[in-house]
């Protein structure tokens, strides 16, 4: 897993609620046996028209918006456990997803892929949407070390929660398997109980 660094970036807004993982990546694009290229089909059915040409009304096709931060409406990532959704978001180039509420499995999946989910209060989220609407190149700062996200235009800051273990993993680029393998003796002893 890549280490998570401080981020200063503009953000891409997706002010829709209950975005489920079938929208993030539809099942028909889950057929690969390798973990690459999923970003091409991120938000596939919103991003492309039926004839596979880009839908100009969708935010990812609007050249005004860019950045490594995705800002989404509440209850982002509900539904299927497909980790392909996390891979697609990461592969597209996002490193942070901000919402006022995340579904559990999706949240776990993104953390296991070096992508930071930041849960912010509803008013902070609304503030971000408002800022981006006024100025699509407005920047936001994310510092995992201090657990802060800053809206540079409004000068507002929010200190977000993250499990200390997961924070350490992201900062150092460690994954859970390295840790679990180090526990092999304890696991075998547990099985003998």
């Amino acid at each position: 897993m890549d280490k998570f660094h401080k981020i200063l970036s503009s953000a891409i807004p997706l002010p829709i609620e209950n975005v489920d993982t079938d929208q993030i990546i539809p099942a028909r694009f889950l057929k690969a046996v390798e973990r690459k290229g999923f970003g091409d089909n991120l938000f596939r059915d919103w991003r492309y028209r039926k004839d596979s040409t880009p839908n100009p009304d969708f935010v990812l096709n609007n050249p005004k918006y860019s950045g490594t931060i995705l800002v989404a409406g509440k209850n982002f990532g509900s539904g299927s456990s497909r980790e392909h959704a996390a891979w697609a978001v990461y592969d597209f180039g996002f490193r942070v997803v901000v919402s006022s509420f995340f579904a559990d499995i999706f949240k776990g999946n993104v953390l296991n892929n070096g992508l930071l989910p930041i849960q912010v209060p509803e008013d902070f989220l609304t503030g971000m949407f408002g800022t981006i609407e006024k100025n699509p190149s407005a920047t936001f700062e994310v510092d995992l070390e201090t657990q802060t996200i800053r809206n540079n235009s409004l000068g507002t800051e929010f200190k977000f929660d993250i499990n200390p273990y997961k924070k350490e993993c992201l900062l150092k680029g460690y994954d859970d398997i390295d840790y679990l393998l180090s526990l092999k003796k304890e696991i075998e002893a547990f099985e003998m109980k």
Binding site: N75, E83, L180
Partner: protein
């Protein structure tokens, strides 16, 4: 001793280690795998030079990608075929038992686990599939995981998990005629929303739950993920034991008696505390139908789509976007709306009782001429039982054909896709945009509602 919940008892008995301020290392008793979410985990494992730590605790079956007709032929679609072949070779290489397409035990992963007696009370069970919650019906902690976690279980038979909060949902009283556990599920989700259970593990309790059959309990626990919960569970009782007894992998002889004695202790103590608790009256539940694009957007069949007048801002925009996709207007009645497709099957409603309900309703009636119906058993064993019980003849004389087992139209990953703009009354679990095919309009319901829709060709009340 402090009173504890069923969930705590099982969870605490499986904690190998706890990271200070972090997640627990949870031991996993059974790991189910399928072709879609396992290949990257296998390649990750192999790139670390590892093999599967406990292959005998793992069971594989291909279900998501498989066609539901002509299963004796090679899978036509190349990518699907490759995914199924990859599962086969991975299982051979890692000595994992696999029930492939030609096997008499093949089926949807959440159908075959219980029917083979692999799923048992008190276990921890995971699978790279959110509907793993199904297995909680046996009084197990069962939940869906991502592919990174599949790799963790391969490597160590453990995963790192923060302990969720606990919720109890009580349903008391007697269910009305032709109201099923699917209706309980859709009713509860409509009440608490699709994020109401997030961060929680749910125990279903109360007299209406106790009176449900094992299969009906599986339907309910299956749908618990749709309220955002990690999973749902029901304390094991005589219904559970009677279902399990004699199944292939269930304990036998003295071992059975010993296990049953242990399983009887698996229940929530009186006065145990839940973080959140809801109580519903079974008599308030009607046959349910969804009108929107998440499983929380459901109403009783006699009801109307909400007007949405009380909604503001992004809530209202999301509501209207959803109705626009469905081609519905706020405040409309659902009953009498013409439909195009009916799908009976999936890990939610693909068990023998579901087909009995369906067959019993359609017996002596005829399928509406404009309806396409896909009747898809959850497993080979279910298919066999449908044939043995003479349900196929009932279906055929009413104009329905039985297909072969698989996930089918639940998720538009195989050939069974609902065409754009068409309305499908589906016994599956998700009505998300495009879930059953790009542009498909899904209305979730019970097998009885689906049966009523199939013969009338419109949304109908199975109580009438």
């Amino acid at each position: 001793m402090e009173p504890t919940t069923l969930f705590d008892k099982i969870w605490d008995a499986h904690v190998v280690n706890k990271i200070e301020g972090g997640p627990s290392v949870l031991y996993i008793d059974r790991h189910f795998i399928h072709e879609v979410t396992s290949p990257v985990a296998f390649s990750g494992l192999e790139s670390r030079g590892l093999t599967v730590f406990r292959p005998q605790n793992t069971v594989a079956t291909p279900d998501h990608n498989v066609p539901t007709i002509e299963q004796h032929l090679p899978i036509r679609e190349e990518l699907s075929r490759k995914q199924v072949e990859t599962l086969t070779t991975n299982c051979e290489r890692h000595k994992i038992p696999m029930y492939g397409l030609s096997h008499k035990w093949h089926g949807i992963v959440h159908i075959i686990g219980p029917e083979l007696g692999i799923t048992q009370p008190g276990m921890t069970i995971v699978c790279g599939d959110s509907h793993t919650s199904t297995h909680g019906a046996f009084g197990a902690i069962a939940f869906g995981i991502g592919t990174s976690e599949v790799e963790m279980v391969f490597a160590s038979q453990c995963i790192l998990q923060p302990k969720p909060k606990k919720m109890r949902i009580n349903v008391e009283g007697k269910l009305g005629k032709n109201v099923t556990s699917k209706d309980i599920a859709l009713y509860v989700i409509a009440k608490i929303t699709t994020s109401g259970g997030t961060g929680h593990f749910v125990e279903f309790a109360g007299s209406a739950i106790r009176s449900l059959s094992m299969e009906a309990r599986m339907t309910l626990c299956n749908m618990s993920i749709e309220c955002g919960a990690r999973g749902g569970m029901i304390a094991p009782d005589e219904t559970t034991f009677a279902y399990l007894k004699g199944r292939e992998e269930a304990p036998k002889g003295a071992a059975w008696d010993q296990k049953v004695a242990e399983w009887k202790k698996l229940k929530t103590d009186e006065n145990a505390v839940f973080d959140t608790e809801y109580t519903f009256d079974a008599a308030d539940i009607s046959p349910m139908i969804t009108y929107g694009t998440n499983p929380g957007m459901g109403v009783g069949v006699e009801g109307s789509i909400p007007t949405g007048d009380d909604l503001t801002g992004s809530d209202r925009a999301t509501f209207l976007k959803s109705l626009d996709y469905m081609g519905f207007k706020p405040g409309e009645k659902l009953k009498g709306k013409k439909i195009d497709y009916v799908f009976i099957g999936s890990c939610t409603n693909g068990r023998i009782e579901d087909f009995r309900l369906f067959a019993n309703y359609i017996k002596g009636k005829k399928k509406a001429s404009w309806v396409t119906a896909w009747i898809v058993p959850g497993s080979k064993q279910v298919e066999q039982q449908i044939r043995e019980e003479g349900l196929v003849e009932i279906m055929e004389s009413a104009g329905f054909a039985l297909r072969q087992p698989g996930c089918s139209a639940c998720l538009a990953m195989n050939d069974d896709k609902i065409p754009e703009g068409k309305y499908a009354v589906s016994t599956s679990n998700r009505n998300f945009e495009g879930r059953q095919g790009p542009g498909a309009r899904t209305m979730l319901a019970s097998p009885l509602m689906a049966a009523a829709a199939a013969v009338s060709g419109m949304i109908s009340d199975p109580r009438e």
